[in-house]
């Protein structure tokens, strides 16, 4: 609990310092808004069309695959720590866990979900 309290204090300080920097910049800097300065940037021209691009569905697929592997690695952390205390079959169990998900990765690969087009 002691160490987590320290982390909480650290978080508060870590947010205050950049906030203070921005505040100082806001105080010291000039404030002359004009519409040309505040228009969005598009290589020096007027913006064409809506400022929203079609979101490629491929990004979502990568996020899904990432999620599955992320949860897998989180399960593997307790395994990794207790390998030293347990006999060899613990390693085999972990290897089985990993191999099931590698099979999933191979399936995804063969289905062409990892292609970017």
């Amino acid at each position: 609990m002691q160490s987590w309290l320290y982390i909480l204090l650290f978080m508060i300080v870590a947010v205050i310092i950049p906030f203070a920097a921005i505040l100082i910049a806001r105080i010291l800097g000039p404030r002359k808004p004009n519409p040309i300065k505040q228009s969005t940037y598009e290589c020096g021209m007027e913006t064409v069309g809506d400022s929203w691009v079609q979101f490629k569905a491929q990004y979502y697929v990568f996020a899904l695959i990432f999620l599955v592997f992320d949860v897998e690695t989180v399960f593997l952390f307790p395994w990794a720590i207790s390998i030293n205390a347990l006999p060899m079959f613990a390693v085999v169990e972990g290897a089985v866990f990993i191999l099931i998900l590698v099979a999933g990765l191979v399936f995804t690969w063969r289905k062409g979900m990892l292609e970017w087009n």
């Binding site: 909480l8 899904l64 897998e72 307790p78 207790s82 099931i100 099979a103």
Partner: protein
């Protein structure tokens, strides 16, 4: 008022307010950001309860993967980022009364529980991590759920790939 209670009350306030804002805000991406605040509050409560591993797992998996997927999903649907108008309808007062009734009955039910008035005794977090690992791997403990979890993840991956590949066929 111990430090435990103060931090718990602050975290609970953050969670509740952010949760209400998730449903009440007009902009979908803002709703996703309020959800992130809620999940962060839950991580703080895990840390207060000496479950440090679960607190970081909450941030890594929920905020670092699931919340990002929510934001990607919101951006995938067209025009969903614009304002949609007020989120309350005419019967909001009825829902409010229902919530208060449910809350009051839950408090009444819990008040007969022995832990209602006590501050929980927290386990020192010296070796809980190794214990967690051992309990996941020993056949006498939770080995089968550990392996079944990987099969579940495989099923999720296969399902996602199937749905995504169907959509790609449609686009072609």
């Amino acid at each position: 008022m111990t430090a435990l209670q103060i931090i718990f009350l602050l975290a609970a306030a953050v969670i509740l307010i952010s949760a209400v804002m998730v449903t009440a805000t007009r902009n979908m991406v803002h709703a996703a950001l309020w959800l992130i605040a809620t999940l962060f509050g839950v991580a703080v409560i895990f840390a207060v309860l000496e479950a440090g591993f679960l607190a970081v797992v909450q941030v890594v998996v929920y905020i670092g993967a699931i919340a990002i997927m929510f934001i990607f999903a919101v951006m995938l649907t067209r025009r969903e980022m614009l304002d949609k108008g007020p989120q309350m309808n005419k019967r909001a007062w009825l829902a409010g009364i229902l919530c208060v009734v449910i809350f009051a009955s839950l408090i009444y039910m819990l008040s007969s529980w022995v832990g209602f008035n006590q501050i929980p005794l927290l386990v020192g977090n010296a070796d809980t991590l190794t214990l967690l690992g051992q309990s996941l791997l020993l056949p006498s403990a939770y080995l089968l759920p550990f392996e079944v979890a990987s099969v579940l993840l495989l099923a999720a991956l296969v399902g996602a790939v199937y749905v995504a590949s169907n959509r790609k066929q449609e686009e072609k």
